[in-house]
Structure formats: structure tokens, C-alpha cells
């Protein structure tokens, strides 16, 4: 029994509508997968887990696809789902995060301003983000990677703009404290 006939038997959705919805989802997936993976990576600090979280968020999106009427709100929905997934997982006892002095992916040595420098920057920042509490980390990622303003970040996280501002300040302070002098660009501008 095809998906279309199954839905027809259920009396809820016509086959053509199902096909359209699948195509829409596929287009959205292709357009947003890499961005969602990047966000997940900075949220959790590991590409394998980032893929797991991103896939879980897309699966949840697919399951709710036909019920999300406001297509303009898809990105916000995905961000909210992703942040919730990562933050919830970070609270589980067997996945509870601990700050470490060493990167699990090793330290990359190399000349400044080269590819190795970019990799080193990535490791340093990701390590520093691990030391930031998950909620504050989510605020930093949404604001500085996703480029959301305070209001949009507050909407995704379901909190007030004031909370976003304070979490941003606390998160940056924690990140700077964790990195020390490792990244000049994180120092407050004079």
C-alpha cells in the first residue's frame, strides 16, 4: 500500500498533497541541513553527536511537517527543537558534560593564518564553548553563529529579551574565562 493510498484510506490527506509536502520537505532539508549541522556542532562540540541531533531535529520536523502552517517559522521551529534536544541531552547523567583541559580531537599545531590556524581556532573555541553552561552556550550560538538578534533568540529559547542579554554577557564571560588569551578576537574591544 502506497503512502498516498494509506492516507487516502485514512481520509485525511490526498496523494498529491502528500507528494507536494514531501517535495517541500526535501527542498527545505537540502537547503538547511548544513546550517543545522553547524549549529548542532557548536552546541554539542562533536560532529558525530551533532549529526545525531540534527537528524533527530529533522525527523521531528518531518513528523510535524503538515501541521506547521507557517512555513516562515520553520527555521525558528528547527532551532527550538535542536536547542532543546541538545540541552536536554546534556542534562542526562550519562551525558553530563564535564570541562576538560584537552581537546578530544587533539591540538593542532601549525603556522598562523594558514589552514592549520583555522583548525586550531575551531578547536580552541569549541573547547571553550564546552566550558560554558548549555543554556548560555545556546544563546551564544544563536546570536553569533545564527546571527539572531535578542528578540529572535528570546523567541527560540522561550525566554525574555532581558534573559537573553544577561545570558549573552554571562556566556561570553565564561567563554573568555575558559579561553584566557588563546583567542585575541574574543577580548573585549578597547
Amino acid at each position: 500500500m502506497s503512502q498516498g493510498s494509506r492516507n487516502r484510506a485514512g481520509g485525511s490527506v490526498r496523494p498529491g498533497v502528500v507528494a507536494d509536502a514531501e517535495q517541500e520537505f526535501d527542498a527545505y532539508f537540502r537547503a538547511r541541513r548544513d546550517a543545522v549541522r553547524r549549529t548542532a556542532f557548536l552546541l554539542c562540540g562533536d560532529w558525530h553527536r551533532a549529526d545525531d541531533h540534527a537528524q533527530a531535529a529533522f525527523v521531528a520536523l518531518h513528523r510535524h511537517w503538515r501541521r506547521i502552517r507557517d512555513r516562515a517559522a520553520l527555521d525558528a521551529w528547527m532551532r527550538r527543537t535542536l536547542v532543546r534536544t541538545v540541552v536536554d541531552e546534556s542534562r542526562r547523567p550519562w551525558r553530563r558534560e564535564r570541562a576538560t583541559d584537552t581537546s578530544p580531537e587533539g591540538v593542532v599545531e601549525g603556522p598562523a593564518d594558514g589552514p592549520a590556524d583555522a583548525i586550531a581556532t575551531r578547536h580552541v573555541l569549541v573547547d571553550g564553548l564546552r566550558a560554558v553552561p548549555p543554556r548560555q552556550r545556546a544563546v551564544l550560538v544563536l546570536r553569533f553563529l545564527e546571527g539572531l538578534d535578542v528578540a529572535a533568540t528570546a523567541e527560540v529559547l522561550g525566554c525574555s529579551p532581558g534573559t537573553v542579554k544577561s545570558q549573552t554577557a554571562h556566556g561570553l564571560a565564561a567563554l573568555r574565562a575558559a579561553l584566557g588569551d588563546a583567542l585575541d578576537d574574543l577580548r573585549p574591544a578597547g
Partner: protein, 264 residues
């Protein structure tokens, strides 16, 4: 100051973008996402369907028990009486029902007087242990036919002195006697159309008797009588164990009789 803040944010944003670059090839594609989504949806639907079936099964069992309870009890009581009647041919005496009830009444279980013979388990009348769980009022109510289909006369050769169907009605009329142990009854073979329930209640005995149409009974002290829906008579009475004490449930007899009359 504002410019410094914006410059800070721009530098930090650039750092974040750089840190998130260099992603390895993705570990999943749209096909996997859709397949996982459908698998989860199927599983959820199966779980919901299973839960619905379980609920329906429970409800169905309850309905069947509710519809089949009284007739089953009647049939079983009648069967018991028939067996007793057969037993009388072998010299065991015609008062089988009373004989079966008497030992239980004489030896209530040690769990605080829970009924040895539950009205929902007629076989318990022949259970020597008699340690049946106390029946809940709900199932008792379910075993009673609705008003409009009165219980009517018994069908045995001798009356069941601890009639399960009548006991179910009594439990419904007087929830305070649910679980009360059966009291000892005489071995007298009363006419088969009669039904009886005799219970040990706090400080005395509660007696409920149904008489079929046309039967007459001598008035009993303190007992209340009323015509029933089937044309018979219901007699409800109680007496104290010790002379001079107040009869138990005296103030509950009238409402109980009012409840029983349309059901009998």
C-alpha cells in the same frame, strides 16, 4: 561604545563561523530522515492502536461481566441447587445450599471477616478456605440487572439461602455490608422460588429474603416488607446478637428495601 560593541559582536560572529566550518560529510540524508520519521509514526500508531485495543478489551470484559454476571450467578445458584437436589437422592439431604454456607459462616476468615463466599464467585460457596478477596462495590453493581428486568424467583428445588444474585443486590443497596461474612442458616428446604441472604454484620444478623409471587410469610419482628417488581415480596430485617442491643443497620433497612423492591 556602541561601535565597539558591534565590532565585538562582528569579531565573535566571525570566530563562531570559523569554528563551525570544516564540517565532515553529513552522516544522514533526506531518505534516512523520512524513513526514520515513518518508522516512528508507525510505531506510535501501533502503540496507540494497541492501547486502544487494550482499553476496548478491558471495557468489553467489564460489559460482558456486567451483562453476564446476574444470569451466571443465577445459573450457578440453580446449578448448585440442582446438584444439591441430585445429592438429596443419594441421601445427602436436600439442603445443599444451606449446608454449603453454614461452615463458612461458622468460620469466617482471619482477615477481618471478609466474606468467604463472594457473590461474584459462586464456586467460593464450596471453597473450604473461604479466603476470597473482598469484592469491590463496583463489580457488584455491574452484576445487577438494570431496573426493568427484575431478578424474580429462584429456579432450584430448594431456595438458595445465600443467593449470589440477591447478595449482589444487597451489596449494592447496602455498601456497608460488602464483604460481610455469610451467617449460618438452617437446613430447612425452603421453596425453590425463594432467595435469601443472611449476613453477619456488626453486632447482629442481617436477613434479606425474596418470596416469589403468591408466597406468604409470617411477619417478623422489626422486618420490613414490600412488593417487588416481579410480583413477589422482599423482606428485610436485622436483629442484634444480644437481647436488648440495638439491631444493626436499623436505619438503613428502609432505603435498602426501597432499592431492592424494583430490582426483585
Amino acid at each position: 561604545m556602541q561601535e565597539h560593541g558591534e565590532a565585538d559582536e562582528a569579531r565573535i560572529a566571525a570566530l563562531f563561523r570559523e569554528a563551525a566550518s570544516g564540517a565532515p560529510p553529513p552522516g544522514f540524508d533526506a531518505t534516512q530522515v523520512v524513513a526514520t520519521s515513518r518508522r516512528i509514526t508507525r510505531r506510535r500508531r501501533s502503540a496507540v492502536a494497541g492501547a486502544a485495543l487494550a482499553v476496548l478489551a478491558v471495557v468489553g470484559v467489564g460489559v460482558v461481566a456486567g451483562l453476564g454476571g446476574p444470569s451466571d450467578a443465577t445459573v450457578t445458584a440453580a446449578s448448585g441447587q440442582a446438584a444439591d437436589a441430585a445429592g438429596s437422592g443419594s441421601g445427602a439431604g436436600p439442603e445443599g445450599a444451606a449446608r454449603a454456607a453454614a461452615p463458612e459462616a461458622a468460620a469466617p476468615d482471619a482477615a477481618g471477616g471478609a466474606a468467604a463466599g463472594s457473590p461474584f464467585d459462586p464456586s467460593a460457596a464450596s471453597s473450604p478456605g473461604g479466603a476470597e478477596p473482598v469484592p469491590a462495590p463496583g463489580p457488584a453493581a455491574a452484576a445487577v440487572p438494570p431496573i426493568g428486568t427484575p431478578l424474580g424467583p429462584g429456579t432450584g428445588e430448594c431456595a438458595d439461602r445465600q443467593d449470589p444474585a440477591l447478595r449482589a443486590l444487597v451489596d449494592q443497596a447496602l455498601p456497608e455490608v460488602v464483604g460481610a461474612p455469610k451467617a449460618a442458616t438452617t437446613l430447612e428446604c425452603r421453596p425453590g422460588g425463594e432467595r435469601g441472604v443472611v449476613l453477619e454484620v456488626g453486632g447482629g444478623i442481617l436477613t434479606v429474603t425474596y418470596l416469589p409471587p403468591g408466597a406468604v410469610t409470617a411477619p417478623q419482628d422489626g422486618a420490613l416488607t414490600a412488593p417487588t417488581a416481579s410480583g413477589g415480596t422482599v423482606v428485610v430485617g436485622s436483629r442484634a446478637d444480644r437481647a436488648g442491643d440495638a439491631a444493626p443497620l436499623a436505619d438503613r433497612l428502609e432505603p435498602a428495601m426501597a432499592y431492592l423492591a424494583p430490582h426483585l
